[in-house]
Amino acid sequence: MRFLVVDDSTTMRRIIINTLKKLGYTEIVEAGNGREGIEKVSEGTVDLIITDWNMPEMNGIEFIRALRGMEGKQSLPVLMVTTNAAKDDIVEALRAGVNNYVVKPFTPDTIKEKIDAVMAH
């Protein structure tokens, strides 16, 4: 399974990538904002996207809206990892097309549960 990790924080990208590797996933590409994320999706096969919300240039919500407008990407699983955990934030993210939501701080078990949940759908 090939992951795309989108986050402007190199630290958070490394934390998520290390977590994915601990879970046994090794095919991972990364992007520093939503615009780069769209480029990576266009370049090749991605099976699941993990994205931040607050990013420069194109934030996570704008990224997902753009992604959902791309041909064949309407059902590509997207997991959002963010500190934005207010009810209104979660509703906005789900409306934009996020499949599931992880609030920072998180454990590897939480990431695994959410990956399993979005892939089951």
Binding site: S9, T11, T83, A86, K104, P105
Partner: protein, 171 residues
């Protein structure tokens, strides 16, 4: 010139202090993989932590202010190694340390914002800023209640400060 002052009721801010302590413990327990020993909170600005790396985030909601994170170079390096899964003898670069402390500050303040917003008020936080050096002095341009929360992570002391604004000083 300053905006009108409002009093800060210590009793009303105690839940904010307890919430920030809990958020700090949770972030370190979950993301850094370490339990923090806690010291007694210190009110006012009598304590100036010896620190080289300072992360800072503003918040606004029913109260406004700052969350400030303080660590020494050694402490910040230890946090960075743990966050990034680096070897114990690795020497993280300054950009790695700055980014890691920014992320730690962001997670603490983000958790704080989320928990404070559960009463229905809208709360927001700013993006983090990180200052690194060996000879600088941090002072917010606000009057209000300042509470320093001391923690110990192994051999390293770290501090989280809650500044609750009552008025903003302007030139």
């Amino acid at each position: 010139m300053a905006s009108p002052a409002t009093a800060v009721d210590p009793q009303s801010t105690q839940p904010m202090i307890e919430t920030l302590r809990a958020c700090t413990r949770d972030v370190f327990g979950t993301m850094v993989g370490t339990s923090l020993a806690e010291g007694t909170p210190i009110d006012g600005d009598a304590l100036r932590p010896q620190s080289n790396v300072v992360g800072q985030i503003g918040f606004g909601g029913s109260r406004s202010g700052l969350v400030v994170f303080y660590a020494t170079f050694a402490g910040a390096g230890s946090i960075t190694r743990a966050l990034l899964g680096m070897d114990a003898d690795a020497d993280p670069s300054k950009p790695e340390v700055a980014d890691a402390i920014g992320e730690i500050t962001n997670m603490i303040a983000g958790s704080f914002r989320t928990r404070m917003a559960t009463d229905g008020d809208a709360w927001a936080i700013s993006i983090p800023t990180v200052t690194m050096g060996s000879d600088f002095y941090m002072t917010p341009l606000t009057d209000g209640r300042r509470t320093m929360l001391p923690f110990r992570m192994g051999e390293h002391e770290i501090f989280v400060e809650l500044v609750i604004t009552t008025r903003v000083r302007r030139a």
